[in-house]
Symmetry: none
Subunit: 280 residues, 2 copies
Amino acid sequence: MSTNSLLQRILQEHDRMGPAEQRLGDFVKAHPGKVIHMSMARLSQECDVSDPTVMRFCRRFGFEGYQDFKLNLAQSLVPSAPFAYEQIVPGDSIESIVRKTARNSLNAIQRALEDLLPQQIEEGAKLLQEASWIGIYATGISEVTAIDAEHKFQRLGMRCAAVIGRKKQWLHAEASRPNEVALIFSQSGHTKQMIELAIAARSGGARVVSITAADSPLARVSDVLIAVTPYDRTELLTPLASRLNHHLVINMLVTSIAVTSGSEFPDQLPALDSWQTDKI
Amino acid sequence: MSTNSLLQRILQEHDRMGPAEQRLGDFVKAHPGKVIHMSMARLSQECDVSDPTVMRFCRRFGFEGYQDFKLNLAQSLVPSAPFAYEQIVPGDSIESIVRKTARNSLNAIQRALEDLLPQQIEEGAKLLQEASWIGIYATGISEVTAIDAEHKFQRLGMRCAAVIGRKKQWLHAEASRPNEVALIFSQSGHTKQMIELAIAARSGGARVVSITAADSPLARVSDVLIAVTPYDRTELLTPLASRLNHHLVINMLVTSIAVTSGSEFPDQLPALDSWQTDKI
DNA sequence: ACAGAAAAGTAGTTTTACTATTTCCCGATC
DNA sequence: GATCGGGAAATAGTAAAACTACTTTTCTGT
């Protein structure tokens, strides 16, 4: 993404700098959190460098001076930006659970924003929109995702159903016919049941839209793939974050369909609960 | 929450300050982006205030001085420069739908991180953990949230059920007895059915944990409130964002319960799907 | 109305960021 | 091989910034 962190730019510029400025760069990279609380004098001393050199170093990156540099450095350090998954461990306080959970979710969405390909969403939305019926398939905890999708598509007046459970899924997939779409959610794209469902649905003439990992077996047997990069081993531990992106994709699909079908307030549609329930 | 955005803290402290410091506070709130590039002298002049007053103002919030204050201010405004919700409009391209959806979600989580009170999560988790059975109630699109909660609590081996539909909900709520907990999800806290369910459950001896807006009718009839600030009119249009925070709360509850009950890998629990499904 | 405390301001000191100029280092040139 | 030249860095100096100690003003309560 275009929002290159300042620290990365320092790394890139490294070879184009003289030795004194390199020492500066190394120190800033190593202790950015310290630097923002240091004066120019202290920093220059720490790196065996004179303070006009610090000045030149800052200007090199397009800043007006040291102050301006420090401010931007501070902003690029802010926890939410490009930062790692924080594992939750047994001793954690409630407060840190709250913080870590939220931050991990932020992290997940940020990654999604960088990785998602709008074109895939577009293709998926087009197929879904043209379908006469949509079967929504998932297993395990992704079932909730399927139910969520069902709710939202039905709001748009579309014919669809979340199909849960092995036997039911088989029944529906084998009865597939042209003009229908099978929408499949799978984290890894390696789940046997889902791959077989995709194949069954296609042999009946239906199209398959999968929200799953790129380069997975499921991706290869789908007509349209919406690639959601799964999390590597460490990050797999996070329960919400991994599923969050699937919900995001659903929302993007729903909104896209609403937009292209000419709704005036595309993002209002799924929020109509208020009409159906009595309030006091 | 301790990670309260600086601007919010300024707002909270407003009444405890003298008129000069109030002028400062107002200016900082109005032009935070300007302030971070101003010197103390310029700021004090702009607010008709002497510069030791600026000093005192900064120290009031626990900072060492003006510099330190500016640094933290800069960090607190980094995330999405203006916190504004970006409405999706009919003409939007797929790409901007993707971007806006993701950014609105980020925005929602960030707000949750600032507003959520860990103590409420803690109280909620405690009650849920001690319950002999948990009834999970919701209507409309929040039903998905209820199902999600059911899935996750069951992973922990807890006895619970998502109760969907008016009549079923009545049956269950009226049969409530001590040691049971009713877990209620409601965006506004004004839904009649939910309030009545809460009252019914309590009169049967059960405790009520609500995830809803503070100061709402539902909040007032609950034993434990987990306050999730609802979105004002403009932001109500966002379908995912408003519900997202309820999912976050569920996750925090599940993790908290897992931690306090001594699980070794608290954040791994809800990710055990792999055990149940065949992979290829 | 007046004592006492809180709030804000004045004046002064130290530190800081930044500038202008000079020195050093190193490779190419005659 | 001394010299010239150009980039990299340092020295020295300045204006302004941040911070402190102290004084004055403005409330508040008896």
